[in-house]
């Protein structure tokens, strides 16, 4: 009796969850499907879901028009570089906040987060002028620095919430055994912190990958990442849904795949110490 009830509830839950999941995912699915249609089929009325002539011509057209591999490479370097640099700077800061907290630790953390609230467009001219001064306009290094700074507060905060969950007793034990600060960090802390660092890394790669204001406004040809690539497909003349879909798919596919493969780490990374 009770078994039947739970069984029925499980079926209902599954049905509901799958329906909602598919609904949420549908816009992405539809974009991917549309990218394989011809332009005429992309706007067909009534819409065609699967029974169309699958074609790769849109991808061909996009590849012919844009140097996709360069945009992709720039995205990888910028997102990856800024994240790694950010983590190198944030780990020591987060470590000291977590294990040597002072009265002001929380204030500093929240202040760091508040720097993220500066409206980017308000400082476009100042930053642009600085970039010209330093000769880093349209360079990957310039973008790596800017995106690192933008995401640094989030990185510090995430790592802080992680490190805080590491029991302090372990460190004390290590200290008792005569471990130096360096050894403490290297041999005790790091192994325990690796999962946290991994998920922080993932989340920030995603944030950096999708950043579309600075990456668009501080680049020209050499350092432009996929956000600039998509800006050339947003309103071409005539029918463009299929080509837009192909370009969109190409812009999001790498990060989507990365996200899916690493979703376990990512999910734990999204907790921000929210779990107690």
């Amino acid at each position: 009796m009770a078994r039947n009830v739970t069984q029925r509830r499980k079926i209902l839950n599954t049905a509901a969850a799958w329906t909602i999941g598919l609904l949420i995912f549908f816009p992405i699915l539809w974009t991917i499907l549309t990218s394989f249609k011809t332009e005429a089929q992309a706007i067909a009325d009534p819409p065609i879901f699967l029974a169309f002539d699958w074609t790769l011509e849109n991808y061909g057209a996009v590849m012919e028009r844009s140097n996709y591999s360069r945009f992709l490479w720039n995205s990888i370097v910028i997102a990856g570089g800024s994240t790694i640099l950010g983590i190198l700077i944030a780990v020591p800061a987060a470590w000291s906040m977590a294990f040597v907290p002072s009265k002001r630790t929380k204030d500093i953390l929240l202040w760091m987060l508040s720097t993220k609230m500066l409206p980017a467009v308000g400082v476009l001219y100042p930053i642009y002028l600085l970039f010209i001064q330093f000769g880093i306009l349209d360079t990957k290094i310039g973008l790596v620095i800017v995106l690192m700074l933008i995401n640094l507060p989030i990185i510090v905060w995430m790592l802080y919430t992680y490190f805080k969950e590491i029991p302090g007793e372990i460190l004390e034990a290590a200290r008792m055994d005569g471990a130096s600060l360096k050894e403490e960090v290297l041999y005790v802390l790091t192994p325990m912190a690796i999962p946290g660092i991994a998920s922080t890394l993932l989340l920030n790669v995603i944030l950096a990958w999708n950043e579309a204001f600075w990456t668009l406004n501080l680049t020209a040809a050499k350092a432009a990442p996929l956000t600039a690539f998509i800006a050339s497909y947003s309103s071409p003349e005539g029918l463009f849904y299929a080509k837009l879909s192909a370009a969109s798919t190409m812009a999001i596919a790498p990060i989507l795949v990365l996200g899916w493969f690493s979703q376990k780490q990512l999910v734990s990374g999204l907790t921000f110490g929210a779990v107690k």
Binding site: N13, T14, I24, T34
Partner: protein, 288 residues
């Protein structure tokens, strides 16, 4: 001894991050403040001298200012409400026993990976277009007149698009929080005959308080500065001009850097008001 030692070490370790962020905040802020007291028009030869508070007065007395503040708060508030409510619901659902939870989670998390420009383009063209959009076809299928989303329900549309992007984030944090809930406590309450609504209100929801705070804090930071979603869909028309967008118009479309900088200062003030407000609740909730 050890604490003394580690305290100074801690300071040194914090230094790079703090100094960098201080620089990242102070240098542009100083320059923004500097420009905001200038008549600075790039198309008219650049720096045309000091003007005192004129830019500040002009920016705030413009008929677009208060509506833009209201729009900003509406979008932030609307998205927060939708993502938190739906997020709690989805998290509760995903926490139930079911088949293929991992796969559903993959589906739900996906919108978070889509860059804002792409999601705005896809929603605008392939869903909300009144002639070719999928929603129009759906409405027609049920015999209704298609909604002209972006012109007649503009703010709703933008809240919808942005909520879609942030729902995964809210859901996942809340789900992790729910999973840590002590199930024995819930079972005990059930045995005592507490109805589901009461169990939710008195046990689950309080437990989620902290997670909800985090969701609100992080999302607010990102939502205050949303730009691509508006730029791509309505270009600031139909009452969707946020404060960020208004500053964009002043700086880039009108090429009035002084005026835009004054707007930037106002935006910083608004952000700080929101931040203080948030930190009050967050600070309380994050204490451990």
């Amino acid at each position: 001894m050890a604490t003394q030692h580690s305290r100074s070490a801690a300071r040194i370790m914090m230094a790079p991050a703090v100094i960098l962020l201080l620089g990242w905040m102070l240098v542009p802020l100083t320059m923004t403040l500097y420009f905001s007291f200038k008549r600075y028009l790039p198309l008219r030869g650049g720096d045309l001298g000091w003007v005192g508070f004129e830019n500040y007065i002009r920016f705030i007395s413009s008929s677009s200012f208060w509506p833009s503040v209201m729009t900003t708060l509406t979008i932030v508030g609307g998205v927060l409400a939708i993502t938190v409510v739906l997020g709690v619901f989805l998290a509760l659902l995903l926490n139930q026993p079911m088949w293929g939870r991992g796969f559903v989670r993959i589906l739900v998390i996906a919108p978070f990976f889509v860059m804002p420009t792409v999601s705005a383009l896809v929603w605008k063209n392939m869903f909300m277009d009144p002639n070719y959009g999928l929603l129009a076809h759906l409405w027609e299928f049920f015999g209704a007149t298609p909604v002209e989303w972006l012109s007649q329900a503009s703010l709703t549309s933008i809240v919808m698009i942005v909520s879609w992007q942030w729902l995964p984030f809210a859901t996942l944090i809340l789900l992790t929080a729910i999973q840590s809930l002590d199930s024995e406590q819930l079972e005990a309450a059930e045995m005592d005959g507490a109805p589901a609504t009461k169990r939710f209100a008195y046990i689950t929801l309080p437990h989620l308080g902290r997670a909800i705070t985090v969701v609100i804090l992080i999302q607010t930071i990102f939502l205050l500065s949303i730009f691509a979603e508006i730029f791509v869909t309505t270009g600031g028309a139909f009452g969707t001009k946020t404060l960020t967008y208004l500053i964009f118009q002043r700086v880039l479309e009108s090429q009035n850097v002084g005026l835009g900088s004054a707007g930037g200062v106002y935006a910083i003030i608004l952000a700080n008001i929101v931040a203080i407000f948030l930190m009050r609740i967050v600070g309380k909730n994050l204490d451990t």
